[in-house]
Symmetry: C2
């Protein structure tokens, strides 16, 4: 980073007291945020809010996600301690995904966002048409 070694502005970063610093460049909470607000994060988390699901159940529930991305998403969420993974070495294998307590809190709040967006979709689509009409023509 620092070619000359000088820059590194003593990153007290985002741990300043109670300061609310997702806005800070290097705050680890920003990384977490990108995990849970990533393309598939919110959908996976809220899907698990309803019940424990197996890998392919989850995959069917979240339409359009590829195996690879679901796998990646779940790994990130497991690493962050939001999702718990239980593998049974049976044949065929069975793996269950559950929310941890923290994951449940996060998921519930994400659900609030999604629910709001969902119910206000008509307004949003109207706004889009207005915007496009003014600019497009």
């Amino acid at each position: 980073m620092t070619a000359d070694g000088t820059v590194q502005q003593t990153v007290t970063g985002c741990n300043d007291a109670l300061a609310f610093n997702v806005f800070s460049r290097d705050c680890p909470s920003r990384e977490t945020l990108s995990d849970i607000t990533g393309r598939w994060g919110p959908l996976a988390l809220t899907a698990l809010l309803e019940n424990t699901l197996r890998f392919n159940e989850l995959r069917r529930r979240v339409e359009g996600v590829s195996e690879k991305m679901l796998s990646q998403t779940l790994q990130s969420l497991e690493r962050d301690g939001l999702v718990h993974r239980t593998a049974q070495p049976t044949n065929p294998p069975r793996v269950d995904y559950t929310l941890t307590p923290l994951g449940e809190e996060v998921a519930r709040r994400l659900m609030d966002v999604i629910e709001l967006v969902q119910t206000r979709t008509p307004d949003i689509e109207a706004a889009r048409h207005r915007y496009d009409a003014e600019r497009g023509c």
Copy 2:
């Protein structure tokens, strides 16, 4: 969800009654969701929750965002009717960004998510270290 307990399949899309279908592949609410949960969406929205800001004020508040991405983000949000843009043709020009009522609701809920993540960051980091320790070694 449905009164009779049947699973409300027949994916006509996501406008089925009150069905909760961000999970549906082509639901427009999913597009909106990606706008507000994009990389810079949550930060821009919650920054505007505090006050009205001008372009470069916003840019300084949200550390690390490039002009291009901030511009794009704001345009998406304006199109969705979440952000209001006021341009004054003075010299130098002055452009203010504000939340619409709907934008404020969304931002408030996003703030709840961010606040939670922020306060639980220690737990999350601990979980990460545990995860990495088990796997990495």
